[in-house]
């Protein structure tokens, strides 16, 4: 590869990624050379500035026609752009949340927190854009490895260490399984490039080797299920969420999970979405989707039922996030024309409500040095504002009308019912699971409104947390009342035909 070849790529398209990379590098150098006394917390502002700039670059790419660089391994299409917005916004809010985070006994983060999180974000963005199994895998690990470190970033806390340990072991298992699945795909098709794979695979599925294609599909899915924590790969979630610092938990449950969905959509839609299936007149993905449907149902049920028994708030939210991963799989299983739209919308709604809930949780945990459900007791009398904000987030998580969570669920329901034939069973299970989830969400309401306060101290809100709370509450309500604002943006800039075309090529 000579210089001319290198220069002919349209590098400007990678401006969002480069911005993140440069800011991460600068931060790591600053961390190295600045004197010890300088407060590393201010890195957060630089990192957020970088994300904001990257966001602007990404906005300028809207409407740009799909193109690929680096020998067709890295692509820019409506799909990648639309989901990169979610990753960037999620990380931005997590950074805002982490700015004021101080664990008792430790002097806050070292600077590495900020550039690790940026590198992880970069990995997520690479996953969104990759058109090749190799780049995809590199992106996956680039997200995973900083996440392992982040989970254990409180060196002196045994819980944080334990959580990092569990995370890395499970992550290793997941990587192994994913690679095993990829190797089947490569073995069958002789290529790592997604569109070449799809072309070559269409001959295979019609032949006697279709069994191998089925294996490849299932093994890859189970491997990738780790990132989105669905059955059977969900068990690490509560332990890791519980032990990690709260902002890291928030990052894992929002950004890392979104990246997991992105990669699943990308791999399965583009490899299996366009080729002939086992039965007549359907795609391979449609033939196999029942497996994912069953896994999604199990995930919804298990997540919500086990959440009923949790008293530790971080574990409770961990199970709730497992359940939400199940909801998010429903549009993927239904494969309606609205699938992308509803997943994208739900991810954004989920981002607002979950990060908001974590922000409240972070304040209360810090205050009471406990993670038990009882930290919410009498919150309405201690701090009505905080209680009302938490109410908004919980109502949205439960899917009550007037909130973003409701519109998100409504979209998913309608999408799943409009397909032919309608996915009635799946929708019914999702409804039942939602009803079960009311029990534990409303348990928190009871604590907030009807119990006497165990803690009498006044609650101080750091400015950055207040900012997160306001942004998340505004997002939750605006999307719940005027979902059109976001959906119109989506329809205006993301051409649906181009989107599916780019995946089914």
């Amino acid at each position: 590869m000579d210089l001319d070849t290198l220069l002919q790529f349209e590098w400007s398209l990678m401006a969002p990624e480069f911005t993140i990379l440069i800011v991460a590098t600068v931060l790591s150098l600053l961390d190295l050379f600045l004197r010890k006394e300088v407060n590393r917390n201010h890195f957060a502002w630089l990192a957020m500035g970088g994300i904001a700039l990257s966001f602007v670059f990404l906005l300028s790419q809207l409407g740009h026609e799909s193109s690929m660089i680096l020998f067709d391994t890295y692509r820019f299409d409506p799909f990648s752009i639309s989901f990169k917005f979610v990753l960037l916004a999620g990380t931005f809010l997590v950074l805002l949340l982490s700015h004021s985070y101080k664990e008792a006994g430790e002097g806050g983060y070292r600077g590495e927190f900020y550039y690790l999180i940026l590198i992880a974000l970069l990995g997520g963005m690479m996953m969104a854009s990759s058109a090749d199994l190799i780049t995809l895998f590199v992106g996956l690990e680039m997200l995973a490895i900083p996440s392992y470190i982040l989970a254990g970033i409180q060196k002196r806390s045994t819980r944080s260490n334990e959580s990092a340990m569990k995370y890395i072991i499970n992550g290793g298992i997941s990587t192994a399984i994913t690679l095993f699945g990829f190797s089947y795909i490569y073995g069958l098709t002789g290529s790592t490039q997604l569109n070449v794979i799809a072309q070559n695979l269409s001959n295979i599925t019609q032949s006697s080797a279709e069994g191998l294609a089925i294996m490849a599909f299932l093994i890859t899915f189970v491997g990738l299920a780790f990132k989105i924590s669905t059955v059977p790969f969900y068990m690490w979630t509560p332990d890791v969420y519980e032990g990690s610092p709260t902002p890291v938990t928030a990052f894992l449950s929002v950004v890392s999970k979104a990246a997991g969905f992105i990669i699943i959509l990308r791999v399965f839609m583009s490899i299996f979405g366009g080729i002939a299936g086992i039965r007549l007149n359907e795609t391979f993905l449609e033939s196999m989707i029942i497996f994912i449907g069953v896994l999604a149902s199990l995930t919804m049920i298990i997540g919500n039922t086990i959440a009923l028994r949790q008293r530790n708030m971080k574990r409770l939210l961990a199970y709730s996030s497992i359940a939400h991963a199940g909801y998010l799989l429903v549009p993927f299983v239904a494969l309606s024309p609205m699938a992308f739209e509803s997943m994208w919308f739900y991810m954004i709604a989920y981002m607002f409500m979950t990060l908001g809930a974590f922000a409240v949780l972070q304040v209360l945990i810090r205050q009471s040095e406990s993670e038990d459900l009882s930290i919410f007791s009498g919150l309405f009398h201690r701090s009505p504002g905080l209680a009302i904000l938490m109410t908004i987030f919980l109502l949205s998580l439960a899917g009550i009308p007037g909130t973003a969570g409701f519109i998100g669920k409504l979209n998913i329901f309608l999408g799943a019912l409009f397909t032919e034939p309608g996915n009635f069973t799946l929708v019914a299970i999702m409804l039942i699971a939602t009803v079960i989830s009311y029990i534990y969400y409303f348990g928190i309401f009871i604590q907030m409104f009807f119990r006497h306060a165990e803690f009498q101290t006044r609650i101080r809100l750091p400015k950055s947390i207040s900012a997160v709370l306001v942004i998340c509450a505004a997002g939750t309500i605006i999307l719940g009342v005027l979902p059109g604002t976001l959906l119109d943006f989506y329809h205006q800039h993301i051409d649906f035909n181009e989107l599916t075309g780019s995946l089914w090529k």
Partner: protein, 621 residues
């Protein structure tokens, strides 16, 4: 200004929010907040009305939610009907706000009362601005809520609680019809926008049978709201609410919402002759049915309530006889004179502390303002020549005659006679018969007489907006501004007018003879037809009938339900919760913190999945 019409409902809403938030601080001052903000609404409504006359209609909507190809919008619509309703609602509401300052002065929950009034006014104004059925339905339910809260305002009284509950349930029965109708319309036309629905009707996109069905279902909603037979009996009970509320909600505005709904959807009704006939028949029947009950009631407010039901029946008769203008015209004049009558009745009740007309008397001299104003209202509703009710009733009769509904026409004539009779029975018994007690009676304060004077003036002059002699200004304006309604003014022979005048005067004279001069025995009719009297006095036993059928039926169903719940549902429910908890328990048992277990679960899970895939050959056939 038309662009800002949406702001009109915001002020009463603001009043509601402010009064709820500041309920601790503004106990006495709450009336000023309410009056001020509803006054702003009134002024703006007037401006919008004038703007509509000079600039024409305006419809604005923004996309609210799009799901697939379906797009739901929110917005507002200003056309002649809506503009007129805006002024009407905000005017009566404003006057009632002022009146309540005097009437509710002693009440310790004055702030709550004004808050509810604000909520109701908001919902009603928003209802008349709605350009699509979704919004109409939402605000339709919200006015129902406002009405429920206000009927039950004296919640410590058992009757008030029960009346509120009854009103809520009976109107809800109607609303089910409305909801089904809306859903059917949406299914048929793919839109909830009024304009696209009318366009679809005009283009003949729906079968006539379907139009009839939808129109009748929607009319069921209107029956509930407007207290038409057979869902009328909640309205008289609703008189348990404070009298200003009866004037605002249960006479002038909310109960007219049913009439408004039919008027708004008039093009839909016109497309189906059957539906029109149903509307006209129910209307005419209700008009005479309620009028006969009103003849013998002894409670001042109840007589007025039945009279409202009867007059609403007139409006329905007009709409069903293609008399769009006549119906809307009567809606307007009725709002003025009926609100006047209620406020005057409130003034009387305020002074004598009873609602039983047998215990009243001799108030003419003691209440210098209330007496004459009540007389104006009574004359207007009786169709006394040259007052507003005369012109609008005339239009309705002409419409029924012109449409060839001769039976209904005769019913309406008889009802007109009865109306004049029972109104003057009230008047003579309350004001001119000898006083029954020696209690000191004082005229009500200015805050109460002022709104009555305004309404009294309107009850006299409002009719001249649309007369056969000076021009049909209102009718021309209403039809010109609505592309879907044809202007047609029913002409009829002159004798109709003469007969109406005669009947009206005859009714008044009969009441005069019986209740004032007493030259006829009071009970000469009731003793001649004792059964008829009992039946009417007991309101045709409709409530008893509902109690025997619906009431006991529901109770029987209730017992069955309790049984089912105890032995079947509960078992299933506890089974469900056991299962859910069981899964949770087993699941969390598995979650033992050992990372080996987690890995094992993954591998076992993967193996199971692959095994299933292999056994099934990859697919489930």
């Amino acid at each position: 200004m038309l662009e800002y019409a949406w702001i009109i409902p915001v002020f009463p809403l603001l009043s509601f929010v402010l009064l709820i938030l500041l309920r601790q601080t503004v106990t006495d001052k709450s009336s000023y907040i309410g009056i001020g903000l509803s006054g702003v609404s009134l002024i703006l409504s007037g401006v919008v009305l004038l703007a509509q006359m000079s600039q024409g209609n305006l419809i604005k909507s923004v996309s609210w939610l799009s799901i697939g190809n379906i797009e739901l919008t929110v917005g507002y619509l200003v056309n002649p009907l809506n503009a007129m309703m805006l002024v009407l609602v905000s005017l009566v509401s404003f006057l009632v706000h002022i009146y309540s300052m005097g009437y509710m002065k002693e009440d310790s929950r004055l702030n709550v009362f004004y808050a509810y009034l604000g909520l109701f006014t908001f919902a009603m104004l928003a209802l008349v601005l709605s350009p699509n059925l979704l919004q109409i339905y939402m605000f339709w339910e919200l006015v129902g809520l406002g009405s429920f809260l206000l009927i039950g305002f004296y919640f410590y009284k058992k009757e008030a609680r029960q009346a509120a509950k009854k009103a809520f349930i009976m109107t809800r029965i109607g609303d089910i019809g409305l909801l089904i109708g809306i859903i059917l319309l949406f299914w048929q036309t793919g839109s909830l926008e009024l304009t696209s629905i009318f366009a679809a009707v005009e283009a003949g996109a729906m079968e006539e049978g379907m139009i009839t069905l939808i129109a009748i279902l929607i009319f069921v909603g209107a029956i509930g709201k407007s207290g038409q037979f057979p869902l009328h009996s909640w309205l008289p009970d609703a008189m348990e609410g404070p009298t200003p509320v009866s004037a605002l909600i249960h006479a002038a505005t909310m109960v007219a919402a049913g009439v408004y709904l039919v008027a708004t959807l008039f093009p839909l009704y016109e497309a189906s002759e059957t539906a029109m006939l149903v509307v006209a028949t129910i209307g005419a029947f209700t008009a005479i049915f309620a009028a006969t009950i009103a003849l013998v009631q002894k409670d001042l407010k109840r007589v007025l309530a039945y009279s409202t039901v009867s007059q609403l029946g007139y409006m329905m008769l007009a709409l069903g006889s293609a008399g769009y203008v006549a119906g809307v015209f009567h809606l307007m004049t009725h709002a003025f004179f009926k609100a006047l009558l209620f406020l005057a009745a409130g003034s009387v009740i305020h002074a004598v502390h009873t609602q039983n007309i047998e215990k009243m008397g001799g108030l003419w001299k003691k209440m210098k303002w209330t007496g004459p104003l009540f007389l104006i209202g009574a004359l207007a509703i009786s169709g006394f020549p040259l007052l507003s009710g005369f012109f609008s009733k005339e239009e309705i009769l002409l419409a029924a005659w012109g449409e060839g509904h001769y039976v209904l026409f005769v019913l309406a004539l008889i009802a007109a006679f009865l109306t004049a009779f029972y109104m003057f029975r009230l008047f003579f018994m309350v004001f001119t018969s000898p006083a029954k007690t020696n209690n000191v009676v004082k005229e009500s304060p200015k805050s109460m007489t002022f709104p009555m004077i305004v309404l009294g003036a309107l009850a006299v002059v409002a009719g001249y907006l649309n007369t056969p002699w000076f021009g049909t200004f209102l009718g021309d304006w209403l039809t010109a501004g609505n592309g879907f309604v044809e202007a047609h003014h029913a002409e009829g022979p002159i004798w109709i007018m003469l007969v109406t005048i005669l009947l009206s005067l005859g009714g008044i004279y009969l009441a005069y003879v019986i209740y004032h001069k007493k030259s006829l025995e009071r009970d000469f009719l009731s003793s001649t037809f004792p059964i008829a009297y009992t039946v009417m006095y007991n309101r045709y036993f409709v409530d008893e009938f509902y109690q025997m059928t619906v009431g006991y039926g529901a109770r029987a169903l209730g017992y069955l339900g309790v049984f089912l719940e105890k032995y079947i549902v509960n078992v299933i429910a506890s089974l469900c919760s056991e299962i859910v908890q069981g899964i949770g328990k087993q699941g969390s048992k598995l979650q033992n913190g050992q990372v080996q277990t987690y890995g094992a679960v993954v591998f076992v899970g993967l193996v199971i999945i692959l095994a299933v895939a292999v056994m099934q050959g990859g697919v489930f056939q």
